[in-house]
Symmetry: C2
DNA sequence: GCTGCAAACGTAACCGATAACGATTGCAAC
DNA sequence: GTTGCAATCGTTATCGGTTACGTTTGCAGC
């Protein structure tokens, strides 16, 4: 065991076993060309000293490290789901995972954070990376799979069927009898935000209802951005009977605003979101939303990245996973009917 | 921008700027002894080539890296809370975070996993580490803070007040009128499991009720371990009127078992857990449990580790954070009363 | 014009590991 | 007793940076 002092290195082992570091390296990596007696000596020295190879030194010298990277700009509840999916796929695969989070950029959307992180890891530490909701196109010397890519991204990606999900929400509201349905959009640099708005527009158009630009508010996916927008929509004389927010965070904030204004949900106002985060089920009333399995997104992304790294990926470059409408108490027929 | 090819290194920058790598290093690190003109040239070359220093190479050479490590054996929903707490504390602190997860050990409790991970990171990549629920004592050349330490651990740690929390649960059950209260214990190598059992015993003893060894089942914190134990307890002729499981995962599994046996909760049986994971609020009925803020655990651990790395830690070696009883629908007075 | 000194910069060793290559050894075949 | 070959092992260059140290340069002071 390393007794609190300097970490034990390969040359410590070599000295203790009376061989060169090259031989220790051969033993550690199971290479051919070491006598059984020497192997035993080296192993014993390794055991005694508690040697463990340095990931850093190894990855600097080797081209292949068997470590995959994941970069995210923040840890939300869904991030854990993604990670679970990733690790279940990576389990027993021989690939370890390193997650990198930068303290300066944490929580803020400084453009290009993902690029900086990738550059610091790729080519040395990791064989490939998963990037969650990047702010733009990503480049790297090693394979990259993007979860929830930026608008116009051509990189391999895994994303939920945002278009179908959003369409389903609006159709649900239309079925309930709503006609004035407002939309709080997300950060338009993300492809998912654009697809959700497109789903909203398409469902209305298909139902023969003109899209009213006055009913589209531009948020950025943060709850904070939604508060004033929801208030503005609800202060209108011709108040909408339903608000569809592009994600649950903004929808939950809308619920708060409605409550503050003394509106009854779903009596006076129906509210729907997108993502199905845990909090949505706990809200009062429960939030109608679209479930996109973050677990599956992570799972597929990991599967794809493994293949890309091994160079045997056969599937499509962009994977789209199905979504599921989850109806809860926050939506109902408008009272006026 | 690195155009998909080999990553751009410091010598690329040096060549492009017509200086040595030493000079580039000085510019990058803002060291003294470079003329303004050279600085400008180097900066321009860095800009043009899109150079980003390799974390690996830097950390190999430098003793200090300003990167902290976190090792966990799996990603549960509470892990995300811990991470949030850690990152909020680290935000703008200059310390980045690297999380390491090993695919071979993922989900399994092979003894010593944390030790292996630490040895691979410490001394080179990271300045210090946070270890979540290790299987034993951890040693490292760099500072380590343990969240939810192993039994008998002397390392700096942050933990919830498991004793008080467990006592509160049992007192709550006693107040409701329960007298036959069973306990499903957790993995006894963890200090938290031992403390929770001690809380159970103490509350009973303080109430003048003898501890019945027959009512104590030995689980290991996994839901799977709890199923047969719960069944055995509920199959008894003198069935307990309440079961307190050492964590929510086992308590939720107990709810399932009770339902399968046709028992009404809380009518026939009260069930309580510990941890307050998100699923507990969603269960039907909601699970009475003890809230330990994983966010705060992560937050405090990060604060402590930062200080330890800087060498200015003044506080106690073991931090204990308060817990809070959360009463939901799964506990009520026993029907027989 | 020479000395002295500091600023500016390059050279090379080094961090911990890997791998190509060369050197040594043992042993069988001649 | 050589020779030849394979097995075994050490030497050394290298990965991408950092830094101690040495060298060059510019300029003030005598």
């Amino acid at each position: 065991m390393a007794e609190g002092g300097a970490p034990v290195t390969m040359s410590d082992v070599a000295r203790s076993a009376g061989v060169s570091t090259a031989t220790v390296s051969r033993v550690v990596n199971g290479r051919y060309g070491v006598s059984a007696r020497t192997i035993a000596q080296v192993r014993s020295a390794i055991e005694q000293l508690g040697y463990e190879s340095s990931l850093v030194a190894t990855s600097l010298r080797r081209s292949r490290t068997n470590v995959l990277g994941l970069v995210t700009h923040s840890f939300q509840s869904y991030t854990a789901e993604v990670l679970k999916g990733v690790m279940d796929e990576l389990s027993q695969s021989g690939f370890d995972l390193i997650i990198y989070a930068n303290s300066d950029l944490y929580g803020s959307y400084s453009e290009g954070w993902e690029q900086r992180h990738l550059a610091r890891l790729a080519g040395t530490l990791t064989d490939g990376s998963i990037v969650v909701t990047p702010s733009g196109e990503v480049r790297s010397g090693t394979p990259v799979v993007v979860i929830d890519p930026a608008m116009g991204s051509t990189a391999p990606s895994v994303t939920a069927d945002n278009l179908a999900g959003a369409t389903a929400v609006v159709e649900h509201l239309l079925d309930l009898g709503h006609r004035r349905i407002a939309f709080i959009a997300g950060r338009s640099s993300l492809a998912s935000a654009v697809a959700r708005e497109e789903g909203y527009r398409r469902a209305l158009t298909d139902a023969g209802i003109p899209v009213d630009p006055e009913l589209i508010a531009r948020g950025d996916f943060t709850p904070e951005s939604a508060a004033p927008l929801a208030r503005a929509l609800l202060d209108r004389a011709d108040r909408p009977t339903a608000i569809f927010a592009a994600n649950d965070g903004m929808a939950l904030k809308t619920l708060e605003v409605a409550r503050d204004l003394g509106l009854d949900v779903p009596g006076d106002l129906s509210v729907a979101g997108f993502d199905n985060i845990p909090d949505s089920a706990l809200a009062e009333p429960g939030l109608t939303t679209v479930d996109q399995s973050m677990y599956l997104l992570g799972n597929e992304a990991a599967r794809m990245l493994k293949s890309l790294v091994r160079g045997d990926w056969e599937g499509p470059g962009q994977i789209v996973l199905p979504t599921r409408l989850v109806v809860r108490g926050s939506t109902a027929a408008p009272r006026s009917l």
